[in-house]
Amino acid sequence: MLLLIPLLPLVGFLVNASLGRRLPKSISGGVACAAMVASFIVSVVAALDLQAMHVESPALAQTVFTWLPSGDLQVPFALRLDNLSTLMILVVTGIGALIHIYSVGYMHEEPDSEYARYFSYLNLFAAFMLVLVLGASFPVMFIGWEGVGLCSYLLIGFYFKKQSASDAGKKAFVVNRVGDFGFILGMLLIFATFGTLDFQGVAAAAASRAPETAGMGVMTIATLLLFLGATGKSAQIPLHVWLPDAMEGPTPVSALIHAATMVTAGVYMIGRNAVLFSHAPLTLELIAAIGVATALMAGTIGLVQTDIKRVLAYSTVSQLGYMFLAMGVGAYAAGIFHLYTHAFFKALLFLGSGAVIHALAGEQDLRHMGGLKKHLPITYWTFLIGALAIAGVPLLSGFFSKDEILYRAFVGTEHAHGSAVLWAIASVTALLTAIYMFRLVFLTFHGERRAAHSAPGTLHPGTLHPGTLHPGTLHPGTPGTHGTLHDAPPSMAIPLIVLAIGSAVAGFVGVPHALGGSNSIERFLEPSFEVHATAESIPAGDAQAPAQAEGEHGEDVGTERMLMAISTGVAFAGIGIAAFFWLRNPERAAAVARQFSGPYRFLLNKYYFDELYDTLVVQPIKQVSTGALWKGVDAGLIDGGVNGVGAVVSGASAVLRRVQTGSVRTYAASLFLGAVAILGWYLWT
C-alpha cells in the first residue's frame, strides 16, 4: 500500500508526459489533481492503519525489490512509514493536492501543451518527494532527494524562454549538487563506518556508541557532511543563494516546492537521523548557529525587498533557519512541528500572492500595488490570517510552533544546550518577521493603489517581462486580467480558504503544557527520534533522558510562560512598527532608507552573496579552465609535447625518406616487426 502513495502521482506524470499535449486542459489537469487526491486518500488510510497499531513505536514497511545488490552493500527499495513520515506524507499530499487544484485556475491561460507539461512536472515532483519521505534508507531517500531537485530545476525554468528563469533553474540545480556532494560523502562515510545505509540500522549502530562530545569523530564528520546536503536543499548559509532566484517559477510551484515541502527536506533528513545527530553535539551546535544566523540574515533582507515573491522567499529562508535552530538544540519535534505549521501558512501566503499577481496581470512589484483589499477580499482575508500566523500572534498555528522553538532555544534539551543568545537572536528574527510580513500586507492591500491608473502595458518594465509566458501577460487582451480586478476564481479560492483554516487551527495539535495543553505532537513524533529496542539492539543508554526531560517540565512552566509573553509582545510590536511606517507614515520609511543608505543597499543587494560567489568561485573556475587547463595544459603542454615528438621524428626521418611509404599500415607492420625483433634479440642472446 505504501508504494501506492508515490506511485499514483508517478502514473499521473506518465499520463501527462506521454499524452499530455493531445489532451484538453480539463483532462490533463484533472488527471494530475485526481492522482494527488487519491494519493492523499491512501496516505490518510495508511496513517489510520498505523495509528490503529497501538504500539509504542508504530511502523509500516514495504520492500518492493532489491535495488542495489553488490556484495555487502544490499539496498532494497524499501519504504517505511512511522509517525514522522506520516506527518510528512499528509503535508505533502494534502497541501500538494490543494496546490494542484489551485494551479488549475492559476495556469489556465497557458496553451494545452504547456499546461500538461506543468502538471506532469508537478506530479513527478510529488512522487519524488514522497519517495524522499518514505525511503527507509539513505540511497532511497537520495532518489527522492535528487528527484525533487530535478523537478525544482524544471519548474523554476518553466518559462524557459526567459533567460533569468533558466539561469535560476540551473543555479538551483548546481547549488543543490554542492549540497548533494556532502550528502553522498556522508553516505559513504556512514556505510564505511556502520556497514549499513538503512536508517534504523544506522540509528541502532550510532546509539551503541558514546556521543562524540570532544573532537571530530566519525559521526561528527558524517553528520557535518549530511548537514551540507541539508543546507543545499533547505537554503541555509552558505548555500541559500538559489532559493530567492527560484521565484522565477510559477507561483504555485513556489508555494509547493519552495515553501511547503521540498525545501524542508533538509530539516526532515535531520529529524530522520535524529539519533545519529544527537551523537554529534558539535554538529548540532553548528546547525543551531547556522540556523539562527540564516534566520536573522534572511529576515533583514526580507525587510527591504520590493518583489512580493522575494519577500516571501526570504521569509521562507528565515523560517527554515528557525527549523534548523530547533534541530540544532535537539528539539526535533519542535522543528518538525514548525515545518508542519509553516507548510500551511507559507503555502497560503504564496498562493495569496499568486492570486494578487494573477489579478494584476503579472505585476510582482510591491511599489505598484496597494489598496487591493476591497478588490480582492478573499485573498486579503486569507492572506491576513497567514500573516498573523507567521508573525506569531497567539492561538494561530505559528504561535505554538515558534514558541516551542524559542523556548527550546533558551532552555535546551537532553541532546544540546540552549542559550540566551540563541533565544535573543531568534526573538529579534521574530520581530523582523512580523515587520516584513505586515509591510507586505500594508503595501499590497492597504492604502491607495499606486499603479491603478496605468494600463498593464506601462507597468514597471523590470518586473513585467514582455513576451514571457507569465499568466496574463501572454494574452494581454484576456478579459478579467485588467480593467476591473477580479478576486480568485473558485479553484484558487477554495485552496486559499482551506489553507487559511489550516493556518489558524493546525497549531492546536501542539498546545504546550504551559498553557494546559498536552503537546500531543511532541508525543506523537518522539518515537521517531529514538532507537527502539529490538532483540539484538543496544542496552538502554538513553533511559535517563526521558526522565530528565520530565523533570524539567515542572520547573520550566514559569520560564516558558514568560518567554511566551515576550514573544507575543514582540509579534504585536512588529505589526505596530510596520503599521507606523507603511500604513500611517509611508514617507518615513523612505526617509529612513535614505538616511541609512549604506546598510539599506547592503540589504537590498542580499549581502552581496551572489557577487562574492561569482568573483571568488565562478569566474576563477571559468578562467582557469579555459586559459590554464584547456589552452595551456591540453593544447600547449600535452599536445605540444606529442606534436613536438612528431616533429623530431619527421625531421629525422627526412633522411630515411626512401623507406617511408606514407601508409599507416606499413608503419604498423614495421612497428610490429621491430618489436618482435628487439624482443627476440634479448631472448636468444
Binding site: 533558466s166 556505510f191 631472448l683
Partner: protein, 550 residues
C-alpha cells in the same frame, strides 16, 4: 555459438559489400543499409540470447570454444564469456545498430564500405572481449584500429586526416609495447612450465620477478590507459571524436574506450597483482585528476562534441578509480559505469549528431531556444543528459555510487576529490543544455528545425529505455557480474603474498634479498626506471637460458 556471434557481423559486412555491387551504385544504398542493419540486429539478438543462457552463478568462462591455431607457438583460438565480458558483448551488440542508424542520413559517400567497416569493427570489438588467448586478443585489439582509422579518415569532418593519424599513432604506440609484454610473458611461462603458452588462464600463474612484473604491468597498462584514455594520455580523444562521423563517435566512446578499462581489469591487474597494487595509487591519482580536469575543460568547450569528449575523460576517470580500489563495489561499479558510459555518452553523441545533421555545425553558440521548436528532441536530450549526470533512478548513478562506495573504503581522500565530479558534471551538462535549448530562438536558421524523425525515435527510445532500465533494475546486471568480479579480486589479492613466498624461479634466493619485494613507492624516478628496465631485460635473458637450452 560464441564464434558465430563474433563473426556474424563480418559475414554481414561481406554481404553488404556484395549487395553494394561494383563501383558506386547509389540505387543499391537502401539494400546495403538494410543488410547491414539486419546483421547488426541479429547480432544484438544473439548477444541477448547469450545473456539469457548465461549461468549467473558461475565465475568461469562460459560458451568456451578452443581450437589450435598456430601450433608451433601454442597459440590457440580460445574464446569464452564470463560475468566481466558478458555485458560488454551485449553493449557492443546494442550500440552497433544504433551507430549504423545514427549515420543513416549523413553518410552518402561509399555506403557499402562504410557499412563494411562498421560491421568489421563490431567483429573485432567482440573478439577483444571474448578472447582468452592473449595472442588472439592482440590480433583483435589491433584489428579494431583499422576500420576506425578509415571511418575517421574517410567519413570524418574537416581535420579528419590529422585526427585519424593522431588516433592511430597514439594507440599503436601503446599496443606495440603490449605486444612485447605478451610475448615476454609467454616466454616466462615457457621458463617455468617448459611450454610456451598464450593462454590467459595459464599466464595468471606464471611466476615473475618484481622487475619483470613491473615492466610487463607498465607495458600492458600503458596500452590500456591510452585507450581509456587516462589523463594525460587523452589528447587524441577530443580530436578523434570531433572529426569522426556520428557512428564513429558512438562506437568509439561507447565501446572502444571500454577496451582499455576492460584490459586493465582482465589483464593488467590479475596478471601482475603486485605491480598493480604498487602502481594503483598513481593510476588512481591520474584518474581523479582526469575526473576533475576533464570536467573543467569540458565546461568551457564551445563545441558540443568536444564537450562530450572531455566529459568522457571525466567519466572514465571514475571507472579507473573503481578498478584501483579493487574491491567488489569498486570493480562492479566500474564495470557498470563502462556500460553506463556506453549508453549515455553514445546517446549524447547521437543527440549532437542530430543537431549536426540539421545545422552542419556543432557550436553551442549557434543554437538556443530549441525547446520551443523541437520539444520532443529536447525531451530526449534532457533524459540522456540526466543519465549522464548520474541522477538516481537512471543508470549513471548506480555506477558512480558503487565506485564511490568502493573507492571510499580504499582511499577516502581521493574519493572526496572524485566526488566533486558530481557537482562539475551538473555544471557543464546543464550549462550546455541551457544554452542549446532554453531562451528565445535567436538564430533564424533554428526556427524551422524539425523535431525527431521516425529514424531518430528509433535511436532515442532504446537508449533512454536502457538508461532507465539500468537505473531501476541494476540487479539484473550486477548479479551475473558478481562471481566473476569476486574471482578477479581474489586473484589480485590472493596471489600477492603467494607469489612472494613462491620466490622467483631460476634465480637463487640469495640474489633476491637486496630487492625488497612489492615496491610500495610509486612512481620510480626516471633513472631508477632505466636501471630497472635493464635489470628486467637482463633477467629475462638469464631466465631464458635454462628453459630454451636444456
Amino acid at each position: 555459438m560464441l564464434s558465430l556471434i563474433v563473426f556474424l557481423p563480418l559475414v554481414g559486412a561481406v554481404l553488404a559489400l556484395l549487395a553494394g555491387g561494383r563501383g558506386d551504385r547509389p540505387e543499391r544504398e537502401p539494400l546495403v543499409r538494410n543488410v547491414a542493419l539486419l546483421t547488426s540486429l541479429v547480432t544484438f539478438a544473439a548477444t541477448l540470447w547469450l545473456w539469457w543462457r548465461f549461468d549467473p552463478a558461475s565465475a568461469d568462462f562460459q560458451f568456451v570454444e578452443r581450437y589450435d591455431w598456430i601450433r608451433t607457438f601454442n597459440i590457440q583460438y580460445y574464446v569464452g564469456v564470463d560475468g566481466i565480458s558478458l555485458f560488454l558483448v551485449v553493449l557492443t551488440g546494442f550500440l552497433t545498430p544504433l551507430a549504423l542508424l545514427s549515420s543513416w542520413e549523413s553518410v552518402h559517400k561509399g555506403v557499402k564500405t562504410f557499412s563494411f567497416f562498421i560491421l568489421a569493427l563490431e567483429t573485432a570489438m567482440l573478439g577483444v572481449f571474448v578472447s582468452i588467448d592473449l595472442f588472439l586478443f592482440y590480433v583483435f585489439w589491433d584489428a579494431v584500429l583499422i576500420p576506425m582509422y578509415f571511418l575517421i579518415g574517410i567519413w570524418g569532418y574537416e581535420r579528419r586526416i590529422y585526427a585519424a593519424v593522431k588516433f592511430i599513432l597514439y594507440t599503436m604506440a601503446g599496443s606495440v609495447l603490449m605486444l612485447v609484454a605478451i610475448i615476454g610473458l609467454a616466454y616466462a611461462h615457457a621458463q617455468s612450465n617448459r611450454a610456451i603458452s598464450f593462454n590467459l588462464l595459464d599466464l595468471y600463474n606464471v611466476p615473475l620477478s618484481p622487475q619483470m612484473e613491473s615492466w610487463f604491468f607498465l607495458a600492458f597498462t600503458l596500452a590500456f590507459i591510452i585507450k581509456v584514455p587516462l589523463f594525460p594520455f587523452h589528447t587524441w580523444l577530443p580530436d578523434a571524436h570531433v572529426e569522426a562521423p556520428t557512428a564513429g563517435s558512438v562506437i568509439l566512446a561507447g565501446v572502444m574506450l571500454k577496451m582499455g578499462t576492460y584490459g586493465l581489469l582482465r589483464f593488467s591487474f590479475p596478471l601482475f597483482p603486485e605491480a598493480a597494487s604498487a602502481f594503483s595509487p598513481v593510476l588512481a591519482l591520474l584518474a581523479v585528476i582526469g575526473i576533475v580536469y576533464g570536467a573543467l575543460v569540458a565546461m568551457v568547450q564551445p563545441d558540443m562534441k568536444k564537450l562530450v569528449a572531455y566529459s568522457s575523460v571525466s567519466h572514465l576517470g571514475f571507472v579507473v578509480l573503481g578498478l584501483c580500489a579493487m574491491n567488489l563495489q569498486g570493480v562492479q561499479g566500474s564495470l557498470y559505469q563502462m556500460l553506463n558510459h556506453g549508453v549515455s555518452t553514445g546517446g549524447l553523441f547521437m543527440i549532437v549528431g542530430m543537431l549536426s545533421d540539421r545545422r552542419h555545425t556543432r557550436l553551442i553558440s549557434e543554437f538556443g531556444g530549441l525547446k520551443a521548436v523541437a520539444p520532443r528532441f529536447v525531451a530526449a536530450f534532457l533524459l540522456i543528459t540526466l543519465s549522464s549526470i548520474a541522477l538516481p533512478g537512471m543508470n549513471g548513478f548506480v555506477g558512480e555510487f558503487l565506485i564511490l562506495i568502493g573507492a571510499f573504503k580504499w582511499s577516502p581522500r581521493l574519493t572526496a576529490v572524485a566526488a566533486t565530479g558530481v557537482i562539475l558534471s551538473a555544471v557543464y551538462m546543464l550549462w550546455m543544455f541551457q544554452r542549446v535549448n532554453y531562451g528565445e530562438v535567436k538564430n533564424e536558421k533554428n526556427r524551422t528545425l524539425r523535431d525527431l524523425t521516425p529514424r531518430e525515435w528509433a535511436l532515442v527510445v532504446p537508449t533512454v529505455a536502457m538508461a532507465i532500465l539500468m537505473g531501476v533494475l541494476p540487479g539484473i546486471f550486477l548479479r551475473p557480474m558478481e562471481p566473476a568480479v569476486t574471482k578477479v579480486i581474489e586473484r589480485v589479492k590472493a596471489t600477492q603474498p603467494a607469489r612472494v613466498s613462491n620466490g622467483i624461479s631460476g634465480v637463487p634466493a640469495g640474489e633476491r634479498t637486496d630487492n625488497p619485494l612489492p615496491n610500495p613507492e610509486p612512481p620510480p624516478s626516471r633513472a631508477a626506471l632505466r636501471r630497472d628496465l635493464a635489470g628486467a631485460f637482463a633477467e629475462a635473458g638469464r631466465i631464458s637460458s635454462p628453459g630454451t637450452k636444456p
